[in-house]
Symmetry: C2
Subunit: 475 residues, 2 copies
């Protein structure tokens, strides 16, 4: 018995003249799509090139070239003497499966991110960029792309010139002495923590964490299967004497000594020394997150833990997210050689190096003094906003005390125990103002109050927002 | 008995006039350093401000301001009626310990990175940047920093405009249809793999890996505690029928279908379909690393696995490292919703988002056509270099066959079994030429030959290097 003759196709691709795409390309695309969509079934025979050329009114050589490409791509096959066929195997599109479970899909990570600003909001940690030094900024970027970029990966530790510039800046601004080889450039504080976790944590390792504290940092630790030990905080920072010792001592301690997030206190010198001693006795690593120490008001700086440490147990983390913009993703870690070696390895395996043009631009921006001029300007701006806010909150001084005024761009409004916070938050929301309670940042801690970020608000917005808040208190 | 009077200090800080640093600041720094260095022991009494001012020939108010700052910083303390003392607790510097072992220092990661180019080298995967389109590049960057950067984090998936531009580019260049919401912008292929590992691998999960294959990718999998399953490769790419099935099936399969690294073959359409079918049957995820598919010579493109996949089991990874520069760290992953959701979470916890100015610059660079013009130019350049190399290797055609010519910027020089590769490498090194054997990229595979990267060499360097290589073969 003669095998049944394969079905012939009368499919013709739709062609458009003068749309800038060659007819050959349109033919290839049209046939390819029809095969993938199942319009042209597998095994179907195509009309001859002569028939196609006549029907489509296309030069036959164009048709032949298109068919040859589809043959080479494997969409078509020829059988000697009997013509051109759609490849025998089924390439037909099926409804794409949207897998929600698969053995290679691990459970989704625990991650809570603040929604974008929709209305008037005392948004914590948000900076102002409306006084951005655009001219100096552009000059620095132009400098960065003056020459062609490199043809190979660069040093995973970061550009030597940037490490030098940051080192000199930290010496001036923070009294912190470091060598360029102690520093690793990374993509902001988040990546700094991520890399340190990779280099130090095993499943179930415990991490001491300020309570209340910075949620995103906590989530990074959790994503590395760490066990979080909440440690209480007061207006002098972490209660160092509450840290477990001996075999219960955590491997890492995460602290924000310049400006505790969110209560706003500064870790006292006595506690700094006690923390260092504890780390030495218990062989633990201190992560010093110095995220916004640049914005300090009316008080002298306290020495960074990293400058007091002589036992190699501090990793100092800095960032340009608060002084410039978080969109740059530029930060650094200063640590001792053995840790830095591992951080450099994990950096290589995480993304090899930080974006190089940004590093060159930042080098220029620091070296020309533009960074420090901008910081000085913003310090004045934030100081003005801060005193505007403090003044505007005076009417409720008996109900709520302003804390954490020494530094940063948030304040903690500590409320009397009887103040109904949830009601106040709801009343503010009704008037279009978003405020957050300190409870949102706490694990076990029982502080009672609101955390108000004023960095991004203009003074008149601060007055308007504070008016709503004071009104909500007064009802 | 009267307590012994505390020791008085006669330490005086060294001051320099007219060096641009205020005397107050020099005083603070000098005392602080002396305390940290132990020159001023804990508990020591300082001379009065009057004595210090007279001795140092400094205005007394300056001395008082400096001492007040040191008091506030906690370096000094006052005792009523008896003067100013160095803080009682010991802050003296000890020799900084360089910890090589600590319980928080995990073993160093397994990481081998090619040393920087020292001499003439057939360096694999290295691109040329000497024909870089600097004017268009600068224009795109200026565009990127036209406005002030944002005051808050942006979308962790990446800039919508860039995802749109890359999607349209992939449609034109690779026939790959995708939606902007399917794409995550990341810091190059390494971060793409790193994030996928986080979202999919558990300790001991197995990953099928091309043998020979791309070492850095393998090291990323190893850093996530994966078990590597080497799968043999021939000139048509991965031997798909060698993939284990059932309970032995790996969770991930890493492939370079457009241009297998380092043998240079392209995964045939039949094997593409077989691989997709295997992934569907065995519930595995395929990582399609399309790292240099742009450089394709004299052959039509093959459809990406991602365009043939209908079961949601392909993650497509692209990068600008080979077409522009690896220093930019810009790449992307196209995947299905459930995986993309997890990738987005891990991206947030890895570094929140990719550097924004680069994303804006790249959007402009693609949208103005500069990227595709550059790729077209580089394709011609590399084609010329490739034919120069092939021609220069003709004298040893009987000993060594050139493979993997269809794509990329490396070739595989497959040698006769009796060719003494180690001797040849050594002879080349003596003449200042670095070449690598395919064995450097293999786990169990027994291919015999050299991998030659010609991308970064000028045609005359290629001729010079090939001459040395041919000479080494002939001895």
């Amino acid at each position: 018995m003669k095998p049944s003759r394969p079905a012939s196709s009368d499919f013709l691709p739709h062609l458009e003249r003068n749309n800038g795409i060659s007819l050959e390309r349109q033919l290839v695309h049209g046939f390819r799509q029809a095969i993938l969509d199942g319009q042209l079934g597998h095994g179907m025979r195509l009309p001859s090139s002569r028939v196609l050329a006549n029907t489509l009114k296309v030069n036959r050589n164009t048709v032949i070239a298109a068919l040859e490409q589809l043959l080479a791509e494997g969409y078509l096959e020829t059988k000697r003497g009997s013509g051109t066929f759609v490849y025998a195997q089924n390439m037909q599109a099926q409804a794409v499966t949207h897998l929600e479970t698969a053995r290679w899909l691990l459970p989704a990570a625990h991650l809570l991110v603040a929604p974008p600003v929709q209305s008037l909001e005392f948004r914590v940690c948000q900076i102002a960029t409306n006084h951005f030094p655009l001219l100096s900024w552009r000059k620095s970027w132009l400098q960065a792309v003056q020459a062609a970029p490199p043809d190979d990966y660069q040093n995973a530790l970061g550009e030597p010139s940037l490490r030098q510039a940051i080192g000199a800046y930290l010496q001036r601004a923070r009294g912190l002495n470091s060598q360029p080889e102690d520093m690793l450039i990374c993509n902001g504080t988040i990546q700094a923590l991520h890399l340190i976790c990779q280099a130090t944590l095993q499943t179930g390792s415990s991490v001491a964490f300020e309570d209340p504290g910075f949620p995103l940092a906590r989530q990074v630790f959790l994503s590395h299967q760490a066990k979080i030990l909440p440690i209480p905080v007061d207006q002098d920072g972490l209660l160092v004497d509450q840290l477990p010792t001996g075999k219960n001592a955590p491997v890492l301690v995460y602290v924000t000594p310049s400006h505790q997030f969110p209560l706003g206190g500064r870790l006292s010198l006595a506690r700094r020394l006690a923390l260092l001693e504890w780390a030495k006795q218990n062989d633990a690593l201190i992560l010093e997150d110095d995220y916004d120490s640049e914005f300090r008001f009316d008080v002298p700086p306290l020495p960074p833990l990293a400058s007091l440490d002589h036992s190699g147990r501090v990793a100092y983390i800095g960032t340009f997210s608060k002084v410039l913009t978080p969109a740059l993703r530029l930060g650094y870690i200063i640590s001792t050689p053995a840790l830095r070696q591992r951080l450099c390895q994990y950096k290589t395996l995480a993304d090899y190096q930080t974006n190089q043009p940004s590093q060159l631009a930042m080098t220029h921006f620091i070296e020309t003094g533009a960074l420090e001029r901008h910081i000085a300007k913003m310090r004045r701006m934030y100081a003005h906003k801060r005193s505007t806010l403090v003044h505007a909150l005076e009417p409720i001084a008996k109900l709520a005390k302003v804390r954490g005024l020494e530094a940063g761009i948030n304040i903690f409004l500590e409320c009397q125990p009887h103040v109904p916070l949830e009601n106040i938050v709801a009343r503010c929301a009704k008037q279009g103002l978003v405020v957050s309670t300190v409870g949102q940042y706490a694990l076990q801690a029982k502080h009672h109050g609101l955390v108000l970020g004023y960095g991004a608000l203009e003074p008149e917005e601060i007055i308007q927002a504070a008016k709503i808040l004071v009104g909500a208190f007064s009802r």
